[in-house]
């Protein structure tokens, strides 16, 4: 309790970080916590990646070669869960931690201790989740969407730990969102009005609301599962008047907004990077904000497009088909704006820009396959095939993940004060770009030809596409290990970076020295027009 007094009377004394492990365990500093989130996310990314490669190894050839189907199911399930909840989401929260206070001119996050709590819940939750793989009966094997009754009546015993793991992750996300909302709404420097905020801040504000609205619903869903499994209720059991399909409705009421939780911050990142390297202000800032808000709103009324084949009244099918297609409109606005920003810009193609441009193109491909899936009668054929797998990997890997990689290259010099090696960065980009397309593009074809997803074996006519896909997956996987090498090399021995880092960069974070000081803005900065929304 003594540091209360110290901190109070000693305003000039700038606390540096603590020494040793204590710094990381007990830190309340947004940059430390951001770093923790990012390294945690990268670790999870590698673990989930290994699972993906196990899957692709088994699928390299038809027939069962390496693993038995029960383990295959555990791999697909845990790959999905780890990538969604352990890699993509924490990476975005890590970026928010690092960037939001710097971008709005705040000294730190609004609730620093809770910030630490939101992070430290995650390693514990994932330790519990991953440990189930080594328990009797195996880990979760019912798909990352954990449909009942697979996840209730027929689930392995470890489902109980899975359920509590999801509760923990939900608590972490809810606290993280509250923190981000409070920071953005309450901690902006004078003059940083809402419509001057960088788009990354805007997209995260809206994402935080999405999280607050749907994570509790997910918690409710797993709670009902828990009761069905252990206390004899019949929410998802028709024999007692419940309905397994009800599970799907509740899950996707969470699940569809969730996919936008994984893409809105990506939109924000790309909207920061493209103007910098096109050396032009973002085209249509206001429309970007409104488009993000409309996407967020619409994401609540489209969920049943995941359930067209389950059986639904005609009116429901029509409603969800049209509402889904409607989302393409604000999404199109965004793609248009990014393109228009680049139009006649003086463009250069540093690594972050390459990833950002690839994002625009490849995410759009994913959006188009999404539109195909949105057409109910067409989805009857595509549902649960590799076409869906191709769709969501296009929006998530060259979409969400590329934006995260772009962000790391773009802001890393600000974080650690050192510049990455541009040719290594470009090499990483091209390897990833080729790898991702070789992996996922053929899956469109095998899917259209009818190859079902989540099956360890397949008919002979799919052999070529699968072999190509597996080769691509290994290229992609190893290029991310290469990314790790690039990162470590930068942090240890990169050239010193300038404060502005990029010639065309605007925003408060670039007014700070590189590396950014331990406490960002102890006194609120002056928000000039030049640094306002870039």
């Amino acid at each position: 309790m003594s540091e209360v007094v110290v901190a109070h009377h000693d305003d000039h004394h700038d606390h540096g970080p603590d020494k040793g492990l204590a710094r990381w365990l007990f830190t309340t500093n947004h940059k430390d916590i951001g770093t923790l989130y990012l390294w945690f996310s990268f670790t999870m990314f590698l673990i989930g990646g290994v699972m993906a490669l196990i899957i692709r190894t088994e699928l390299f050839q038809p027939g069962l070669q390496f693993i038995d189907p029960a383990f295959f199911n555990q791999m697909t399930t845990n790959h999905g869960l780890i990538m969604v909840f352990g890699a993509i989401m924490p990476a975005f929260v890590g970026l928010a931690n690092w960037l939001v206070p710097m971008m709005v001119g705040a000294p730190d996050m609004a609730l620093p201790r809770m910030n630490n709590l939101s992070f430290w819940i995650l390693p514990f939750a994932f330790a519990m989740l991953i440990s189930t793989l080594f328990m009797e009966g195996g880990g979760p094997n019912f798909g990352w969407t954990f449909y009942a009754p697979l996840s209730t009546t027929y689930a392995p015993d470890t489902v109980t730990y899975f359920i509590f793991g999801v509760h923990l992750m939900g608590a972490s996300s809810i606290m993280g969102s509250i923190n981000i909302i409070a920071t953005i709404l309450n901690m902006r420097a004078p003059g940083m009005t809402l419509m001057k905020m960088p788009l990354f801040v805007w997209t995260w504000l809206i994402t935080a609301y999405l999280l607050l609205a749907v994570m509790p619903v997910l918690a409710g869903a797993v709670t009902m599962m828990l009761f069905d499994i252990h206390f004899g209720t019949s929410f998802f059991n028709a024999a007692g008047g419940g309905d397994p399909v009800m599970f799907q409705h509740i899950f996707w009421f969470f699940g569809h907004p969730e996919v936008y939780i994984m893409i809105l911050p990506a939109f924000g990142i790309v909207s920061q990077i493209i103007p910098t390297f096109a050396r032009k202000p973002l085209f249509g800032y206001d429309s970007m904000v409104y488009a993000t808000a409309s996407i967020a709103f619409l994401s609540f009324i489209v969920w049943a497009h995941h359930m067209f084949t389950v059986g639904m009244p005609l009116a429901g099918q029509l409603f969800f088909m049209y509402s889904t297609m409607l989302i393409a409109v604000p999404t199109g606005v965004k793609v248009f704006n990014w393109t228009a920003t680049m139009w006649r810009g003086s463009m250069t193609f540093e690594t972050p820009m390459l990833f950002a441009i690839a994002f625009v193109i490849l995410f759009t491909i994913g959006g188009f396959s999404g539109l195909m899936l949105a057409i109910t009668p067409v989805d009857y054929q595509y549902h649960d095939t590799y076409f869906v797998v191709a769709h969501f990997h296009y929006v998530l890997v060259p979409g969400a993940l590329f934006s995260i990689i772009a962000a790391v290259y773009y802001w890393l010099p600000k974080w650690c004060g050192r510049m990455y090696d541009e040719s290594l960065g470009k090499l990483h980009f091209w390897l990833s770009f080729i790898g991702v397309n070789v992996t996922f593009f053929p899956q469109h074809f095998s899917g259209l030809a009818g190859m079902p997803r989540r099956i360890p074996d397949y008919a002979l006519q799919f052999a070529d596409f699968n072999m190509v896909s597996s080769i691509g997956a290994f290229i992609f996987g190893f290029s991310q290990v290469f990314f790790l090498y690039v990162l470590i090399k930068t942090i240890r021995s990169g050239e010193p970076a300038t404060d502005r880092v990029w010639e065309g960069a605007h925003g408060l974070e670039w007014t700070l020295p590189s590396p950014a000081p331990y406490h960002s803005f102890t006194t609120p900065p002056n928000v000039t027009d030049a640094e306002a929304h870039s």
């Binding site: 000294p107 809770m114 509250i178 901690m187 252990h230 929410f235 419940g242």
Partner: protein, 304 residues
Amino acid sequence: MANSTDQSAYYIPHNSWYPFLIAAGALCMLAGLGNWLNDLKAGDEPSHLLFYIGSATLAVVLFFWFAKVIEENHAGLTNAQLKRSYVWGMGWFIFSEVMFFAAFFGALFYARALVLPWLGGEGAKGLTGEYLWPEFKPEWPVMTNPNPDVFQGPGESMAAPGLGSWGGYLPFWNTVVLLSSSVTVHFAHTAIKNQHRGKLLGWLGLTVLLGVAFLILQAEEYIHAYNELGLTLSSGIYGSTFFLLTGFHGFHVTLGTFILLIQLLRAFKGDFRPDDCFGFESASWYWHFVDVVWVCLFIFVYVM
């Protein structure tokens, strides 16, 4: 908002060991609960130890954490802007709780409006019922489940009787109790504003008593349901929704009563000032929220 002048003094704790311990405690608690439930299911002697260690850690560390925040406030570290952060935090936390209940209400509405008619053979998916359980007649409350061999229906339900006999209807009195407690907590707030210590203690104490009374009545109701009505968690969808909704609400009332009790102890110590009583205010917002949920429960679970 952004125009605050005292921004430079925003208090940022340098470091803290509470959050890490809370995270570790939460893991132990839930992993322990998981062990416990799985042991029960397997018919083994349940092991509770981890659960108790985790829960105790949570309780102790939370105590220190809150004490620290109060102490910081007394030391003058909590400026107006930080207080706003707390207000935002509590407000959006309550919103997330609303969404948690929304999931259960959603399940209730979905089951009543869609599932039961379908199981009874009506509507778009009526074939389900026709093929599976043609004898099943949809009604609410569901007294006979689609497959009574697996899920035996309740003997009697908790549904409200006609208005005339509400005098002997326990949930009605629970509504009265909880609604009046929302009023008394409001009076307690007014007493803080008017710096009237006696009234504050009186009204707040009464609120806590009403909370306890509610919980006793609800326990009574549950005992009645289990012992006399044959209404249990496993009585099918009616029992499932009934107990999950009222149970989680009751859990929130328990938490809320406990929080208010802490505020009462703080009021005894004279912790609250008219312009500085965030702890009390957030407790009372939580209480109002719990109250609103109950009103929805009373309407949709008991009456309709």
